[in-house]
């Protein structure tokens, strides 16, 4: 259970970090962000990068800011930072609620939003948020900056558009309009475990019917994504139980479920039906949603 030896780098500026990354990328040098995924992988010897580029001493990466209708989240913003109000409701309320489902508090004080997106676990809550809301991914290397849309970012189980020598320096989430309703529901076997299935829904009502709907599903397929068929089943209908059931049934029918020794495809489909229905009901139920926990509201 001891990590293999590595050379440790601790740049204090982004440019310095990118220069080191460019040098060590070919030998599988890696970024060390919160370390809440990478260090366990190293302890289990599933990863043995010869170089670690620790980005924790680069303060400019630790910021969130609201700009051009988006919330920009830097590479060092921790899960717990997103449990405090950020002054951009209702999006910040959504983030606070979702964050409370990620691992446990002592892991949330270290793990980062961008690290989760870079790692792209199928059951990552932040990947579900990014996929559902339509995040923009700002990726930098020593050669320059590029911006990738959500359609091109997720490329499979733990595979993304980030290439060797590149860093996800910031993810930008579109702000939610003030009248957006949102609901999140996750099922896992124990509190803090990775989700077996989860859904995030945002709705806007127009004249008593659903005008706009986004429905994202995570933990069930190779990577989280919006389910267009389920959204189409909802738009134009009154936001009632029957409509939610119809949308949930559509989602369950169209997914391509992951299977493992404990969870077969049938189980995952039924779970997706349930989590989508409950996320939609939650959107209607907590119109004035408050974060479930404020432990992390930093003093």
């Amino acid at each position: 259970m001891k990590p293999a030896p590595f050379k440790y780098h601790r740049p204090t500026t982004l440019d310095e970090a990118l220069a080191i990354l460019a040098e060590v990328a070919e030998e599988d040098g890696r970024i060390l962000a919160g370390g809440q995924t990478l260090v366990p992988m190293m302890a289990l010897r599933l990863a043995y990068p010869p170089h670690l580029v620790d980005i924790n001493a680069i303060p400019e990466l630790a910021r969130t800011r609201v700009e051009d209708g988006r919330l920009a989240i830097g590479a060092l913003v921790r899960h717990a930072d997103l449990q405090a109000p950020l002054g951009c409701p209702p999006l910040d309320g959504l983030l606070a609620e979702v964050a409370s489902h990620i691992a446990h508090y002592p892991i949330r004080t270290r793990g980062t939003f961008c690290g989760s997106l870079a790692n792209a676990d199928p059951a990552s809550e932040w990947c579900l948020v990014a996929a559902t809301l339509g995040a923009e991914f700002v990726i930098r290397s020593a050669d320059g900056t590029r911006s990738v849309g959500v359609e091109d970012y997720f490329q499979g189980v733990m595979a993304t558009a980030i290439g060797p020598g590149e860093m996800l320096v910031e993810a930008r989430l579109p702000l939610l309009p003030a009248d957006s309703l949102w609901g999140f529901y996750e099922f896992s076997r124990r509190a803090g475990d990775f989700a077996l299935g989860m859904a995030l829904a945002t709705l806007r009502l127009e004249g008593g019917v659903v005008g706009e709907a986004r429905i994202g599903v995570g933990g069930a397929e190779e990577h989280p994504r919006r389910i267009a068929e389920a959204e189409a089943a909802l738009v134009g209908r009154a936001p009632d139980e029957a409509a939610f059931r119809a949308a949930a049934a559509k989602a369950a029918a169209v997914i391509d479920p992951l299977e493992d020794h404990a969870t077969d495809g049938t189980y995952r489909r039924e779970l997706v039906e349930t989590v989508v229905r409950r996320a939609l009901s939650a959107a209607m139920a907590h119109r004035q949603a408050r974060p479930r926990t404020e432990i992390e509201a930093r003093s």
Partner: protein, 159 residues
């Protein structure tokens, strides 16, 4: 790559000049190099919480950080809880409520609870249980750990 580096860790206010490889985790450095063996290493991959310490006041898993990342940071471990011969209220409460049997998990639970109660002395029952679900105990069945922490929280509320 196996070259050792010199660093100074500040554990419970005391400075320890140590020489370790970069791959040395914080928990191993605290135990082996600083000689503070109160912090326990259980799973060593972030799952059990036995290694929980406070880093600049925040509870973290010390098996998921490298010692080399922690120079200049304020590290607090279970050895720093008591005030001389007087136990910390959480330590006394764990005894009073039989919240430990073998004691392996206890330092982790104490540091987790100490860190959070300092920031959130009024934490609600549901949140407290969710918080304590972070750490594993193979002996007590958790009920007495929850009772012990609640009792300290309720005492703080009265004070």
């Amino acid at each position: 790559m196996n070259e050792k580096v010199d660093l100074t860790l500040t554990v419970n206010g005391q400075r320890h000049a140590i020489r370790v490889e970069p791959r040395k985790t914080l928990v191993d450095a605290i135990r082996d190099d600083c000689g503070q063996t109160g912090t326990h290493a259980g799973c060593e991959h972030g799952v059990c919480g036995a290694c929980t310490i406070l880093l600049d006041g925040e509870p973290v898993r010390s098996c998921l950080m490298f010692a080399i990342q922690c120079e200049g940071r304020d590290i607090r471990t279970v050895e720093g809880l008591a005030n001389g011969n007087e136990l910390h209220p959480l330590q006394q409460s764990f005894i009073d409520h039989h919240a430990l049997q073998c004691g392996f998990c206890t330092p982790g639970f104490l540091m987790l609870a100490a860190g959070v109660l300092r920031k959130r002395p009024d934490i609600g029952d549901e949140e407290l249980i969710d918080l304590l679900s972070s750490n594993l105990c193979r002996c007590t069945g958790y009920a007495n750990i929850i009772k012990a922490v609640k009792a300290v929280r309720d005492g703080l509320a009265q004070a």
